[in-house]
């Protein structure tokens, strides 16, 4: 019987600073724009995954056909 792979992990406590920043870049609008941009990127990424998966189905269909042909 093989040993299972192991891992340990956890989130880590953060601290808080109230020191002023040299350059404060906080912007609620910029945050909303970032959320929108990543939502659009997600669509593109998922579309590529779908295209790749459909291409893989075709490869598998061809492989199955080849196996059947060899057995006949």
């Amino acid at each position: 019987m093989s040993d299972p792979g192991t891992a340990s992990g956890d989130a880590l406590d953060a601290t808080v600073s109230t020191e002023p920043l040299e350059e404060n870049t906080y912007s609620e609008v910029a945050d909303a724009e970032q959320v929108l941009e990543s939502a659009k990127l997600k669509v593109e990424k998922q579309r590529k995954h779908l295209t790749d998966a459909e291409a893989h189905v075709k490869v598998c269909e061809e492989a199955l056909a080849a196996v059947k042909e060899n057995q006949s």
Binding site: T15, V16, S17, Q34, K45
Partner: protein, 159 residues
């Protein structure tokens, strides 16, 4: 009820490994994550369902428990800058980001920790990734409130 520790949500890890939800924490097309602040009236639980790990669900409901400062640290949180999965160290994988700061004139009180969630997640809207404790009560009056993420990241796995 109170905060005592920082934890990774169990459903986040399970959903990622099973590809139940495409939660992209790094690389090309990385998602956008926000840190929302909470008071000590809640007891975060890493073992809740995916749906109850989400922002504005379960203990993470915004009303009464979320702490924010209009125009300075929005309700719903502040976006993490430069989120990254770092696997450059042997036997280690961790999630990190640049420290997260409010505007320059924020007023916040009784902040004990934050929920880090994925704003891009569509399977469960705003699914939680982890929650991070600040070690006690924190606040600021008319100043900058910056979450200084741990030097080893928001969360870390040793393999």
């Amino acid at each position: 009820m109170s905060w005592t520790a920082s934890k990774i949500f169990r459903p986040y890890l399970a959903d990622s490994l099973a590809n139940t939800a495409p939660l992209d924490l790094g690389g090309a097309g990385v998602d956008t994550f926000k840190a929302a602040l909470y008071n000590d009236a809640i007891t975060p639980n890493q073992d809740v369902t995916s749906a109850l790990s989400a922002y504005n669900a379960g203990v993470w409901v915004s009303a009464s428990n979320e702490m924010y400062s209009a125009g300075q640290w929005a309700a719903g949180g502040v976006a993490l800058a430069s989120p990254v999965i770092d696997s450059a160290t042997a036997a280690t994988v961790f999630f990190d980001a640049t420290d997260t700061a409010s505007g320059a004139t924020a007023t916040l009180a009784t902040v004990f920790g934050c929920l880090v969630y994925d704003t891009t997640s569509a399977t469960v809207t705003n699914q939680g990734i982890c929650f991070n404790y600040f070690g006690g009560t924190q606040g600021v009056t008319g100043g900058t409130f910056t979450i200084v993420w741990h030097g080893q990241g928001l969360f870390r796995f040793t393999l």
